[in-house]
Symmetry: C2
Subunit: 141 residues, 2 copies
Amino acid sequence: MKRTGRKSNCPINYSLERIGDTWSLLILRDIVFSGKKTYSEFLDSDERIATNVLASKLVSLEREGILRKSPHPTDKRKDFYTLSEKGLDLIPMLFEMTRWGIAYDSKTEKSVKNFMRKYNKNKTGVIKETIKKVRAGGSVF
Amino acid sequence: MKRTGRKSNCPINYSLERIGDTWSLLILRDIVFSGKKTYSEFLDSDERIATNVLASKLVSLEREGILRKSPHPTDKRKDFYTLSEKGLDLIPMLFEMTRWGIAYDSKTEKSVKNFMRKYNKNKTGVIKETIKKVRAGGSVF
């Protein structure tokens, strides 16, 4: 039987079909934690995403309404990627993923650990503050 | 340059390398929300995972210490999969993924919507209660 369209009506599956892959989530991480906004900035990350993969992920994240693409404010040859409200609403999930990673991984940098300590003490407050910051063009670090 | 070992020291990347794929997260969903515990129960889900993919995901989730494998209490021919403490600690992330899915997906079932309404009102409480329930062998539904 040929599988067409979505695989189920489960909301977790809805999420996974949109952001359930390593590269999409690493792009979101780069925006939220490092304030990256351009193709070349995303390309430059430690995990070394391939150019064709990056290009296709940016297209699908924009199509899903998670990213917004606009002309770069100072360099018109570049595209400028920011999170939509739907994208900003993924920040709580991203933070939980980070918290779990830190809890079981000894290799986390001190700055990230310190930030997550703040988060663990006041999740709602830190999420609210971060969404506001990222919406205004900033980032965690 | 050949890429060996982990791609970076980022804790999100740590998480993604362990549970950042659709099928692993759907197995966790089946355990937490539906109380599934055996290979044949996982195989039976709407998303129709392939047998070889399921087998390999179960091996890697067990190797990462997220799942625990033990003999089935009533049918010794079967393996019995439950979440370790490390696996139970993924429940908050799973819930945030569900919340996001429901917020942007019109197709969610009423029972899931109602549960998440409860979660939105009292996240910490519902997470605590669910971890306790799943640890004892139960599930959300």
